[in-house]
């Protein structure tokens, strides 16, 4: 991080009265007030189409809220964008077809105006299980492999804020479990603030410190569940009673969220 950077190493995120109505009057987010602690991983779970990805895009500064404000490390999203201290792993891997696996990962360094770092790129390729595919173009990769490239790309710039939009959606179960164990080892020591959108309750519990359950559209936060499991999460934690209890609590929260229209703030 540069000495004159405005965004702290582990920026907190503050949403004040943030709402989003798309042209045509589709209300996606009801006015939302929430603070995400810096250095924590927060998971957003909720039914399909409820507005989780929209909230992520608002935090990333890719969309402007209809009302309210978002502050990242005390500054609007444009500041963290300007400092290239943000990385997003999109739902669609968004790989450039004319670049190889290595080229796609290196593109993030270029866009962030950081010097080339072949060793770090190779390490990440290995971490996401794509050794031997560094010079392969996306067309020759499976959906899961492409998604892993996108994850590696989001990590390579060592962002201060990492936004993951269903990053493991197309990844097979075994790789998904492996990635869920390995990836936090990268962002935890750096205390990267991470926001994760996922449909998988066990993935949310495995990766996050806090889980926000959103209602069907227009989204409201209907459950705010802390995950009190040790960090770093040891291998096999998913078979412990504490993990299973957390999964059950979030699942119950999701079920209540589907039925509920009353936001947490009003309870």
């Amino acid at each position: 991080m540069g000495a004159d950077a405005e965004i702290p190493t582990s920026p907190g995120i503050v949403c004040r009265g943030v709402s989003k109505v798309f042209p045509g009057g589709v209300e996606v987010l009801r006015p939302l007030d929430v603070t995400l602690e810096g250095g924590q991983t927060t998971a957003l779970v909720g039914p399909s189409g409820c507005g989780k990805s929209t909230l992520l895009r608002l935090i990333a500064g890719l969309e402007a809220p209809t009302a309210g404000e978002i502050l990242i490390g005390g500054a609007p999203p444009s500041v963290i964008l300007r400092e290239a201290a943000l990385a997003v792993a999109f739902q669609d891997p968004s790989l450039l077809p004319w670049r190889t696996v290595r080229g796609n990962i290196e593109l993030a360094l270029k866009l962030a105006r950081k010097p080339p770092d072949p060793r770090k790129v190779d390490d990440l390729i290995r971490l996401v299980g794509l050794e031997g595919f560094a010079d392969t173009r996306p067309a020759a990769l499976s959906g899961g492999m492409r998604q892993r490239v996108a994850i590696a790309r989001s990590m390579v710039t060592e962002p201060r804020l990492l936004l993951l939009d269903e990053p493991f959606g197309a990844v097979d179960e075994l790789t998904r479990r492996q990635l869920a164990e390995d990836l936090p080892r990268i962002w935890e020591p750096r205390r990267t603030t991470t926001v994760l959108v996922t449909h998988s309750v066990s993935e949310a519990v495995m990766l996050s410190d806090r889980i926000l359950v959103l209602s069907p559209r227009p989204a409201k936060i209907v459950e705010d569940i802390p995950v009190d499991l040790p960090r770093p999460r040891p291998a096999g934690i998913d078979s412990t009673p504490a993990f299973r209890a957390a999964v059950q609590e979030v699942s119950a929260g999701l079920a209540r969220g589907m039925a509920s229209t009353t936001p947490l703030a009003a309870q």
Binding site: R57, A60, G61, L62, S78, I80, L81, R82, E83, A84, L86, A87, V88, F90, D92, S94, L96, P97, W98, L107, A108, K110, L111, A112, R137, A139, A140, T157
Partner: protein
């Protein structure tokens, strides 16, 4: 295996062999037909063509070099103009429709009339040939480039923006690379079009070049020379088309797109109606301003460089305006008798052949390779051959227009039929549906966007074909009227013809577009709301 080969860009050995077999069969069939028709003075055998080329190698070589030089200069100028226009449209998105409309209007200017006008404006020298070559190429590069610069999913732009980068990084990292296949597709079509433009320019009073030799041979009814010149023009066009293709395969990771037409205006209802009216008004306003401004800027003599008000006077307020209008109307009626059947026949034949080859896939692969290669032949430069073969009457003209429309329609429809979604075909196959049911329910609807794209782009092409044949051969219709007006220095009539033909071409293009929107709103609704 190279990445290009991974994507099926490189032709396979089998396709090369099929192509070679096609060429050999064509030459043998041609030789046999010529021998059978010996003495009819319409068809020269390949051996006669070869003899003429050898005997006139010096003359032909000099003419070829001149035409190639003019075509190359026009190719560079036209493509630079296309890149600049596309960049302007990208930088000024709200003006894109107006820029595209102006580009279409200029592309629809009849070369048969702009040639003589440019000759007067430039005087002797290669100016008109180069300008006509540039005019013939810029639109076919501009359109795919414009599409290509936007041919990236929005998530790619989100990626760039998520690193705090702006429009310049989007251009460098996304748009430029995404547009490259489209640029090459445009350049590939532009290469033979430049040759065509240069030759039409030479038809209009140049001193040297292949066009000059063609005019002389046509007047002298030198059958061997006409065939030799058309063969050399076709071979040169196919060679440059192939050369651009080779470069494209070396550079690209995916094949160039086949459809070279802008998508229809993606709006609906009253908003679209208002947009069309506003765009049309803006295009006409800018066109008049550019026309008048250019004439005044270069202080061109009003005798031959007519201004908008001169044409208005000639058509509306002058004492002989009614007579001028009647002459134009009569010529347009004569032209439409050739143009409309030829256009319809070309569309029907192109579509029918594509459908037939889809139903008979065994011969489809080879035929596609030959058709794509033949698309590079500048049909208009073979006009004298068609006249030789079919005479100066209606049949020859209609056939030439139909051939002009046939190739792009055939290639586009064949491509469109292959765009049918495989999963939907699988569903039909799971019900043991036959090829006809598959064609009717899936492939024909999937083909419609490609069909209409080809039909729209065929409008100015067929106007070019009919006016060239009328000028060179039939002595009837608007093409002949423009040639006659040029030779009689009747510049009021010439400029009036240019305006009317260009406007009618644009109207025809828009008319096809209106039908397209209506049909695609049912059969390709996703494309219409993009």
């Amino acid at each position: 295996m190279s990445a290009a080969a991974d994507h099926g860009v490189a032709p396979t050995t089998a396709r090369r062999f099929t192509g070679l077999l096609g060429v050999v069969s064509l030459v043998v069939g041609w030789e046999l037909a010529a021998r059978a028709l010996e003495g009819a003075f319409i068809l020269a055998a390949p051996s006669d063509v070869a003899v003429w080329i050898v005997q006139n190698a010096g003359l032909l070589g000099r003419a070829f070099r001149v035409t190639l030089g003019n075509a190359a200069a026009g190719f560079v100028a036209g493509n630079l103009a296309a890149v600049m226009l596309a960049a302007l449209a990208l930088a000024w998105p709200r003006g894109e429709r107006v820029i595209a409309g102006l580009a279409l209007l200029i592309f629809c200017l009849p070369l048969v009339a702009t040639g003589p006008i440019l000759r007067v404006l430039y005087g002797p020298g290669p100016g008109p040939q180069i300008t006509l070559a540039a005019l013939a190429v810029y639109y076919t590069t501009f359109v795919p480039l414009l599409v290509g610069l936007r041919a990236a999913p929005s998530s790619w732009f989100d990626l760039v923006r998520s690193y705090g980068r702006g429009a310049m990084a989007e251009l460098v990292h996304i748009r430029a690379a995404a547009a490259l296949p489209y640029l090459f597709a445009g350049l590939q079509i532009a290469a033979p079009a430049a040759f065509l433009g240069a030759m039409v320019g030479e038809f209009t009073g140049a001193e040297r070049g292949m066009g000059v030799l063609t005019i002389r041979a046509t007047r002298a009814l030198d059958v061997d020379a006409i065939w030799a010149l058309a063969t050399v023009a076709a071979a040169a066009s196919m060679a440059v088309y192939a050369a651009v293709g080779v470069i494209a395969r070396a550079v690209l990771t995916e094949p160039p797109p086949v459809i070279l037409s802008p998508p229809p205006m993606p709006r609906t209802g009253g908003a679209r109606g208002r947009a069309i009216v506003l765009t049309t008004a803006a295009v006409l306003g800018f066109a008049l301003l550019l026309w008048w401004g250019a004439m005044e800027l270069f202080d061109l003599n009003r005798f031959f460089a007519k201004r908008p008000d001169d044409v208005w006077a000639a058509l509306v307020t002058a004492p002989d305006a009614a007579e001028t209008r009647a002459t134009l109307a009569q010529a347009l009626r004569e032209t439409s008798v050739y143009l409309l059947p030829g256009f319809a026949a070309g569309l029907a034949l192109g579509t029918g052949m594509a459908v037939a080859l889809t139903l008979l896939p065994a011969i489809g692969a080879g035929a596609t390779a030959v058709a794509v290669a033949l698309r590079s032949v500048p049909i208009v430069t073979t006009a004298p051959l068609v006249v030789l073969l079919l005479g100066r009457g209606a049949v020859g003209t209609i056939v030439l227009v139909a051939v002009m429309v046939f190739f792009p329609t055939f290639v586009a429809c064949l491509h469109g039929l292959r765009q049918a979604p495989g999963q939907v075909i699988d569903v039909l196959d799971s019900y043991a549906a036959g090829p006809i049911a598959r064609l009717w329910h899936v492939q024909l609807p999937a083909m419609l966007p490609a069909f209409f794209a080809a039909a729209r782009m065929s409008v100015p092409a067929s106007v070019l074909a009919v006016t060239v044949v009328e000028w060179l051969a039939t002595g009837r219709g608007i093409g002949s009227l423009m040639a006659l007006s040029a030779s009689l220095s009747d510049y009021d009539m010439l400029w009036s013809s240019v305006v009317i033909v260009a406007l009618l071409s644009v109207a025809g293009y828009a008319g096809v577009g209106a039908v397209e929107r209506r049909v695609l709103s049912v059969y390709a609704a996703e494309q219409m709301t993009r």
